[in-house]
């Protein structure tokens, strides 16, 4: 019997039903009445999956977003686009494997795609530091995005990173500067930009390719000011409080929509994108084609004005405009 490893603890009931189903489907187990049994089991499996996935806790969502089989940028590049022509290098230092850039064809439209890449095999994963970009990754992205604006290609960014890489080289090469400059320039690049968080949206590392005209998230992604482990380490002084921090940070798709930070939640297939990457890719493609059509209808001045206003509105604070209200006296 095939046991999926490593499994997610909260998915155990799903694995058990799947294992039973596998058994029944074997030819040697064929007997009268088995079809009916299989039908019942399939229904139970779907219901169980729906129940579990409708009630994911924020911490469970993080685990789905990090699932080893969850589609990465590379998978969507293959499944959503008709062609991908990779463009390497930041022209300054190197070619960061944590960020993939290149021309792509979306139906008949030519676009520039920028995506974080986490890698699949151990070799790939270490080569791209598990999706944590260095400054050269952000600079490569910016250099390609500038070319896109120059040659009138819309930009599609796939965000999937635990965070920007925390390391000596990254600091020596100005990680803070690289991320800041990307936001600064993305806010005024005169071409449509669509950003989609496909898994993890870890802090400044995500935002470094995250300023666009539309921002969407896949249903079981997270997008946060800090990772739950990082937050737990600072505020609770222990990573063991990660689940609690995950709840406190309000970073699920629904929260992001409520706070006005994203425009759209793309529903994932039953049981998460990793269970059906093709279906997820189809939905993503429909969204991208439709959104690109909307954005292309705007003239560039209006596009940039709306992009500015979109981020300008973000934030929640109190404002007592009554001029008579005095400042509270400092104690």
């Amino acid at each position: 019997m095939e046991i999926p490893t490593p499994g997610l603890a909260f998915e155990q009931p799903i694995y058990e039903l799947e294992a039973r189903l596998q058994q029944l489907l074997r030819p040697e187990n064929h007997r009268p009445g088995v079809e009916e049994e299989i039908r019942k089991l399939r229904r139970e499996l779907a219901e169980t999956m729906k129940h579990i996935y409708d009630h994911l806790s924020p911490w469970e969502t993080v685990q789905v977003a990090r699932h080893k089989d969850r589609p990465h940028s590379g998978d969507y590049l293959a499944l959503v686009f008709d062609e991908f022509v990779e463009l390497h290098g930041d022209r300054k230092f190197g070619d960061d494997r944590a960020v993939v850039c290149g021309f792509a064809k979306l139906d008949q439209r030519k676009v520039m795609v920028i995506g974080h890449e986490k890698g699949r095999t151990y070799k790939e994963r270490t080569a791209c530091y598990f999706g944590c970009a260095h400054p050269e990754g952000y600079r490569k992205a910016l250099q390609k995005m500038r070319l896109a604006a120059k040659f009138d290609l819309p930009i599609i960014c796939f965000i999937d990173t635990p965070g920007a890489y925390p390391g000596i080289g990254a600091e020596e090469r100005g990680q803070a500067w690289a991320i800041a400059e990307n936001m600064y320039e993305m806010s005024r690049l005169a071409t449509p930009i669509i950003c989609v968080i496909i898994g993890e949206g870890g802090s400044g590392g995500a935002l470094g390719i995250g300023v666009g005209d539309r921002v969407a998230v896949l249903q079981h992604s997270w997008y946060s000011v800090i990772s739950p482990e990082g937050c737990a380490g600072i505020l609770w002084k222990s990573h063991e409080y990660a689940a609690r921090a995950a709840g406190a940070l309000r970073f699920t798709a629904k929260d992001l929509l409520d706070f006005g930070v994203i425009d759209t939640v793309l529903q994932e297939p039953l049981g998460g994108a990793h269970r059906d990457p093709h279906q997820m890719a189809t939905r993503l493609k429909v969204y991208l084609v439709k959104t690109l059509r909307e954005l292309s209808a705007l003239d560039r001045t209006q596009l940039l004005q709306e992009r500015y206003e979109k981020f300008r509105r973000m934030g929640v604070f109190l404002e007592d405009t009554a001029p008579t209200t005095a400042d509270p006296t400092p104690t």
């Binding site: 600091e171 806010s187 005024r188 406190a248 930070v261 934030g315 929640v316 604070f317």
Partner: protein, 269 residues
């Protein structure tokens, strides 16, 4: 026991975090909060910065009516809503940034300063909004823009994703200011980290830093924990960043005002 405010011990004497010498408090104050023995630059509050950099009595505060709130209903060891009230009482500030206008050697400027004592000088919605309004007003009134950053906290965790979005909001406002030909001088002080370093603080036309300030994206503890190695001496200091090409000038506090005035003059603003 009364907890001392960071870097500002009470009494006549204080110990310098730079050289560990006991120094006369009045003497350090006279030198704008700089150790007479080793030139270590102590923490100074946002209000004190205004006194040090702007011409006396010229500061007019903007957007002081903005108040932070608790949109996430965030609770760690205490409720964020309570934490805010405590920090406000302790610092006399409503949030971690003050903005407004004033004169620097008779040149009118738009001026912002963060106070690293208010929740680590972190940026939530109020800091982001005050700075964005400051930048927009400098754009409209064609004022040179000066922002002095001090933030160990970066983007404020307690306001979650809304804090992260302030980085984009402020950066977008600065891009417009830049497109309009505005002059932005960013001054980095100890410490300037995380989402503050990775947004407005990095985006100056000119970036100055006080000597020996800690400046960077990832905190040294995070890097140490990730790599499990000792960090090189002087890592993430002003001097380290100057050497790597990210800072225009290291400016001692006593020279800051005149250096800002001179830069404004060179840029014809």
């Amino acid at each position: 026991m009364k907890r001392q405010k960071r870097g500002v011990p009470e009494g006549l004497w204080q110990r310098c975090p730079g050289c560990q010498e006991i120094i006369f408090r009045k003497e350090a104050e006279r030198r704008l909060g700089v150790c007479p023995e080793c030139d270590y630059h102590f923490y100074v509050s946002a209000r004190e910065r205004i006194r040090q950099v702007l011409d006396e009595g010229t500061f007019e505060e903007w957007d002081m009516q903005l108040r932070p709130t608790d949109p996430l209903e965030f609770v760690d060891k205490k409720r964020y809503a309570e934490r805010l009230v405590e920090e406000q009482a302790r610092t006399g500030l409503t949030d971690a940034a003050l903005t407004g206008t004033g004169m620097i050697r008779a040149r009118r400027v738009a001026f912002g300063v963060t106070d690293s004592a208010f929740i680590m000088g972190s940026m939530g919605s109020v800091v982001g909004e005050r700075l964005t309004r400051l930048i927009e007003r400098s754009t409209a009134e064609q004022l040179p823009l000066i922002i002095i950053s001090g933030s160990g906290g970066g983007a404020r965790m307690h306001e979650g994703i809304l804090s992260l979005m302030q980085m984009a909001k402020v950066s977008a406002a600065l891009a417009r200011f830049d497109s309009a030909g505005g002059l932005f001088i960013s001054v980095l002080t100890n410490p300037t980290m995380g989402g503050v370093a990775a947004s407005f603080a990095a985006l100056g036309d000119f970036v100055f830093a006080e000597p020996r300030a800690l400046i960077g994206f990832a905190g040294p503890r995070t890097i140490k924990a990730t790599l499990r190695i000792e960090l090189p001496k002087g890592f993430q200091t002003s001097e380290f960043l100057l050497e790597h090409g990210y800072i225009d000038r290291i400016v001692p506090r006593s020279k800051l005002k005149s250096e800002i005035a001179r830069t404004i003059d060179y840029c014809g603003k």
